[in-house]
């Protein structure tokens, strides 16, 4: 589904990603761990193609197409969707409007909003005065309407209270087809700080990112437990041993 080959990325003249290699297969969910400022968000934003994230070297291949230089909307059309950690407020643009845009004119947005108890926000300006949890729900609803094949989630659990974590988890499971066990087609890449989301959504692989490089790959739960116990410092040590 997604292959990233030796990706080097600059943000405002500063080298942030330093030779990332990553492969996500069809139906797989991967988690990305790492400290603040390690480059996790940069990786997601670069995959989506946002301006300000300058690819100096390397390739991003999605469904066999080199998308490294494609505009954002063409990547979206190919089947990549993203949930932002802090999306902008769009004054005068209603949630129902953006759900329409995401669904490309389809009418599933309202139905889904109702099923997740979010329909009273349909006539509100997108993200205007939304709480942390409401922003996440709004982002996930947009993605559900968009129905991407690869979903990029930037800290979907941050700012969400315990009660709502369950709903957020359900929405992500639906996005990533966790109800299907054979022939699952949807893939995901999830940035998580707290790892809470792993209690709700199973992941196939975990990666640890430090200083713009991916250090460790493996079972996401084991990696997360290791980080909890020994901290990121141990990852660096461990990686050094491997060299």
């Amino acid at each position: 589904m997604l292959q990233i080959e030796d990706l080097w990325v600059e943000v405002q003249g500063k080298e942030v990603l330093k030779g990332i290699n990553l492969e996500i297969g069809k139906g797989e969910t991967h988690c990305l761990f790492g400290r603040n400022g390690s480059g996790k968000t940069t990786l997601l934003m670069t995959i989506m193609g946002f301006s300000g994230y300058k690819v100096k070297h390397g390739k991003i291949i999605f469904k066999g197409v080199d998308i490294t230089r494609l505009p954002i909307n063409e990547r979206a059309r190919l089947g990549i969707g993203i949930s932002f950690q802090r999306p902008p407020t769009l004054r005068g643009v209603k949630l129902k409007d953006i759900l329409n845009i995401c669904g490309n004119g389809g009418h599933k947005g309202r139905e889904m909003a109702v099923s997740y108890g979010f329909d009273r926000f349909l006539d509100r300006d997108v993200n205007h005065g939304f709480s942390g949890g409401e922003i996440k729900k709004s982002e996930l609803l947009q993605l559900l309407s968009q129905n991407p094949d690869l979903t990029l989630l930037d800290e979907p659990e941050s700012g969400v209270d315990i009660e709502n974590l369950n709903v957020i988890g359900e929405m992500i499971k639906k996005l990533l087809q966790k109800d299907i066990h054979r022939g699952r087609k949807k893939s995901g890449l999830i940035i998580t700080h707290t790892g809470f989301i792993l209690n709700y959504v199973t992941a196939d692989k975990g990666h640890v990112m430090l200083n713009g490089e991916i250090y460790c790959k493996g079972n996401p739960v084991e990696i997360f437990q290791g980080i909890q116990k020994y901290g990121y410092q141990e990852c660096i040590k461990c990686m050094k041993c491997n060299i």
Binding site: S51, I72, N73, P88, L90, G92, V93, D97, I101, Q146
Partner: protein
């Protein structure tokens, strides 16, 4: 080329010197279409009445609701003995050369009075239309919302689609009495070489509400408008909303002032402006003079084309400590972040810009005909062509 006020006045022929049409049935199709785009429903659907003046002639003046009195202002002056309590009370007749000229050579205008307790369901529409080239139209309007009444007036001001130049001077004095509610929606749809000089005063008494919606989306040479509302009774409220697009070549000097002169009065001035190459001066002035007043001012401007200028001038003036007054002003181009957010949802860059501009200009004004909604959409796509 700049032209001073005196030259401006002498440049145009008084409307009283030119012939006008006898009735609205004589208007051409393209004129009718333009009036519809200006918010006028010629079939009077969902309107309680209409006043239509072309040049200096009142061609239509009829209201179906007995609780609302509608007259050409010259008739009202005769009927009510010069309207001495209302005539030149809120706008000074020697304010400037335009008020002086209107006092000397009045063409006409409308007089509207909602009787005490009358609550009109649908709007009353008025239309001031300049039909001939190089004409100066001078009108003086009075609206009185008597105690406990409710009224919505939609005014469409326009010029003939092929007009090259003209001047419109409009004096307006609005009286909102105790507990009354007056909504005044004004749509300007002029031509590219038209000069517009409205002079407006508003008085709001105890628990009265005055709400103004102002829309100008099309080309115009210059508009200078600065209504002043005085809140004279406890709990009076004034709200001004403006949605303005300045195409290349237009100078729009728009704004409003509210004097909160009684306890617990409230005011809000909100302007959304888009420069598509033209110049906009967005003014707002709130004056707090009594205890417990609350007022907010918001000037939001978007520049979409090179050479566009937006000059926001928000002013707050407090005369005592027990006031709550604030302002917020922001001017700039559309945030790239917002465009890319929508692109990530599948829109092209052009579509994303259009969606954001449409949202920015989105105003919910009740009773506007679909033609005007369409005009808003057209203005957005014109903005886009200028912007990208």
């Amino acid at each position: 080329m700049d032209i001073n006020d005196k030259e401006l006045l002498s440049k145009f022929t008084p409307a009283s010197n030119v012939d006008a049409v006898e009735g609205i049935d004589k208007l051409q199709d393209e004129e009718i279409k333009k009036l519809q785009q200006t918010g006028i429903q010629l079939n009077e659907e969902e309107r309680i009445g209409s006043f239509i003046q072309t040049n200096c002639n009142v061609v239509h003046c009829d209201c179906s609701v007995s609780g609302v009195e509608l007259l050409p202002v010259k008739d009202a002056l005769k009927k009510y003995d010069g309207l001495s309590d209302y005539w030149w009370r809120l706008v000074s007749k020697d304010k400037d050369i335009f008020t002086e000229e209107t006092e000397r050579n009045l063409d006409n205008g409308y007089f509207i009075r909602a009787k005490a307790g009358e609550k009109a369901v649908y709007p009353l529409q008025t239309c001031l239309y300049i039909r001939n080239d190089n004409v100066a139209q001078k009108v003086h309007n009075i609206i009185i919302a008597e105690e406990g009444s409710e009224l919505h007036v939609i005014t469409g001001c326009a010029t003939h689609p092929h007009l090259t130049s003209g001047l419109h001077i409009g004096i307006s004095e609005f009286y909102v009495k105790k507990g009354a509610k007056l909504t005044f929606t004004m749509v300007h749809n002029w031509g590219e070489s038209i000069y517009v000089r409205p002079r407006t005063g508003v008085l709001v008494e105890e628990d009265g509400l005055f709400m103004s919606n102002y829309i100008s989306l099309k080309g115009v040479k210059s508009i200078q408008t600065y209504p002043v509302a005085q809140l004279k009774g406890r709990g009076a409220v004034a709200r001004f909303n403006s949605v303005v697009v300045a195409p290349s070549g237009a100078l729009l000097d728009i704004g409003s002032k509210v004097i909160l002169d009684a306890p617990e009065t409230r005011a809000e001035i909100i302007s959304r402006t888009v420069s598509n190459g033209g110049t906009i001066i967005a003014r707002g002035h709130l004056v707090g003079k009594a205890r417990g007043v609350k007022a907010h001012l918001e000037c939001q401007g978007m520049i979409l084309a090179d050479k566009g200028i937006i000059h926001a001038i928000p002013e707050l003036e407090a005369h005592l400590d027990d006031v709550d007054m604030s302002h917020e002003a922001a001017v700039g181009k559309i945030a790239q972040e917002e465009i890319e957010y929508l692109m990530a949802r599948g829109l092209s860059e052009e579509e994303a810009v259009a969606t954001i501009v449409r949202g920015f200009l989105d105003v919910k004004i009740e009773g506007l005909p679909p033609e005007l909604e369409e005009e808003l959409q057209n203005a957005v796509s014109e903005c886009q062509q200028g912007g990208i």
